[in-house]
Amino acid sequence: MPFGQLLVEGLAIGACYGLFATAVVIIYKTSEVVNFAQGEMAMFSSFVAFHILAVYQYPFWLAFVIAMLFSILLGVLIEFLFLRPAKHPSLLGMIVITLGAEMFLMGLASWKWGAEQKFFSLPLDPSVTYEPVKGMIVTNWAIAVFAVASTIMLLLYVFFKYTRLGVAMRATQQNKHAAKIMGIRTERVFSIAWGFSSLIGAVAGMFFASRATLDPAFMMEPFLRAFAAAVLGGLMSIPGVIIGGGLMGLIENFFGYYWPSWKPIVAFIVIILVLCLRPSGLFAKHYVKKV
């Protein structure tokens, strides 16, 4: 068994799941909405980067920055246009709204860029690899995933812990009423959460696209995995979902090596087991909200 290689590949794809799951959790934490349009928001932003690269031929870093700004705007807009107008929606109503946004984005991307798969690549030379231990090849892609994921995690940690806005976001998540009474503009908090989440999702989306292809449906499957990783991690804690993502990648790769036909479902079986034993996920702090 190529243990080292499976470890690297499992952790790398796991970091991608974790990163994307973080995007899911940021929205869930602040507004308790599971955003089913998350994958398609990332897809759309990745297409914007692709469009700038292919049509305007800008250098990658510029396309990346523009796509990142676009993704923030997209997140804020979707919250503003789709969710905010809904007066006192139920949880089911919210889910239906995000599903609507998902279909809208997918339709728009199909119309604009067509359904044909596109080639999308990060400026990472695929021919350069490192072999720190014999039989364990580390690619630039994997290194970039680890670097970007840890940087984002660190920034998020500092943001939520030390900045006024981050603290306001945490407060809103814990008690929306009290936050309002403290003068926190909770609607602005939601906007910012959607913008942040969309940004992080777009970064993860570009990593996924560069490993496969770019097409309007390419984020459906990764979203499902990332969502599962988020559930595994407890949907509330960011370190939890990162570990959840890593576990997901490792379980899939090690298990999938021996039983390939079970690979797509093994992680979901694990999740069902975890949820049976610990219904609020592996890392959720248990606290019961007063009714």
Binding site: L6, E116, K118, R211, P216, E221, P222, F255
Partner: protein, 398 residues
């Protein structure tokens, strides 16, 4: 998401079949008159399967050529394309609309196994001829459906031919397979195994992937560790891209061999960022740059009549799928009827245009078991490796 999609699709298909079963033999306008013959085709013009939609537009080119040359025995072909978005429920709707409102004499092509399955019985019940479904599903012709004629070579036959080529021409003993975990992939697996059994060999790795999976790292490592020197791929275009990218990153460089589903080299070359070069595939049509007189004629017509279309394999597949019905209509003559056309189709023997040689008999409607073998050269060029090859192991012929 993937489960939801799948469930929806099968639900729609089931509903579609139910509704169709209730309304068999609806009153319908005739499919032809003294001046025109009405022919229809469905195919995804929008949605995720849209790249395959060019098949329906390719058929249009042939009918335009036929009409330009004066039609068939005084009748022009009136051709209808409907977008079903690769959704069986939509296929049923558009087919019924065409049959019951417009009056359709015959259908040609039609992309996809599931969409085809949803309307197969409806068409037969209404005695509407359907030539050349654009999918290789053995259920189209086995058991025999008197109104349905297939051109598309079966994946099992193709895999058998490709496996023979790998063993005898590439002299490779260690062969692995990466197959999509559905009818398409499993047919490929079966064909390859059947062929290798005749050499007393077996596959060194049989690795399934789910159609929507996006991470193949463990599968590729399995193939690499099996020591496979050649790997057969029976997967989707996206899966093939992930496979090649992942393999390149872990330093796995076997000879890749794939089904004809991935024979659109310019597309595959583009979406793999050039990794497609060197891949060997089956093919059911001549290479796009072929110098055969008929290819030259069609290519020139395409340049003239549809300059906006890319001259890709799926596009001219639409032509070769429609060729046999034009041939049969010519044989029937002025005195047209469904029975007469069936008789003409049933007597097509060793008929070949730019695709494989086709023979239909009243007892056998799978027209061919032949593929070519081609290789992707530099800049997505087509290199011819082996001309039309039949499968001597094909069981359906016996």
């Amino acid at each position: 998401m993937m489960f939801r999609k799948k469930m929806l699709v099968s639900l729609f298909a089931a509903l579609a079949v139910l509704t169709v079963a209730n309304i068999t033999q609806a009153a319908q306008p005739a499919g032809f008159d003294d001046n025109e013959i009405r022919i229809g085709q469905w195919g995804p013009q929008t949605g995720p399967a849209a790249p395959w939609g060019s098949v329906a537009r390719g058929s249009k080119l042939l009918f335009d050529i036929v009409n330009e040359e004066g039609g068939i025995h005084g009748r022009k072909i009136k051709y209808f394309i409907r977008d079903d978005m690769y959704n069986p429920a939509q296929t049923v709707a558009v087919v019924k609309e065409l049959v019951e409102r417009q009056g359709i004499f015959a259908f040609v092509g039609g992309v996809g196994s599931a969409p085809g399955m949803a309307v197969k019985d409806y068409l037969a019940a209404n005695k509407i001829i359907w030539v050349s479904p654009s999918a290789a599903d053995k259920e189209f012709t086995q058991p025999l459906n008197p109104y349905l004629f297939a051109v598309y070579p079966l994946y099992k036959d193709e895999a058998s031919i490709l496996a023979k080529y790998i063993v005898e021409k590439l002299k490779t003993k260690k062969i692995g397979i990466l197959y999509q975990n559905d009818a398409y992939g499993k047919d490929g697996l079966e064909g390859a195994k059947e062929r290798l059994a005749t050499y007393k060999m077996s596959l060194v790795a049989e690795i399934p992937v789910e159609p929507t999976e996006k991470d193949f790292a463990s599968q590729i490592l399995r193939l690499k560790n099996s020591g496979a020197e050649a790997v057969l791929m029976y997967v989707s275009p996206t899966a093939a891209v992930i496979t090649l990218k992942t393999a390149a990153s872990v330093g796995f460089k076997p000879q890749w061999v794939s089904a004809n589903t991935l024979s659109d080299y310019p597309l595959m070359f583009k979406i793999t960022g050039g990794l497609w070069e060197g891949v060997i595939t089956g093919a059911f049509g001549e290479t796009p740059d072929s110098k055969s007189p008929l290819m030259v004629k069609y290519r020139d017509a395409a340049k003239r009549l549809t300059p906006q279309e890319r001259w890709g394999t799926f596009y001219y597949a639409g032509i070769l799928f429609a060729d046999p019905i034009v041939e049969a209509l010519k044989k029937v003559g002025r005195n047209l009827s469904t029975e007469a056309l069936l008789k003409a189709l049933n007597s097509i023997k060793d008929y070949q245009t730019i695709g494989p040689r086709i023979t239909w008999t009243p007892k056998q409607h799978q027209g061919t078991d032949s593929v070519m073998i081609q290789k992707c050269g530099p800049g997505a060029s087509y290199i011819m490796l082996q001309d039309w090859t039949t499968n001597d192991l094909a069981t359906w012929k016996k």
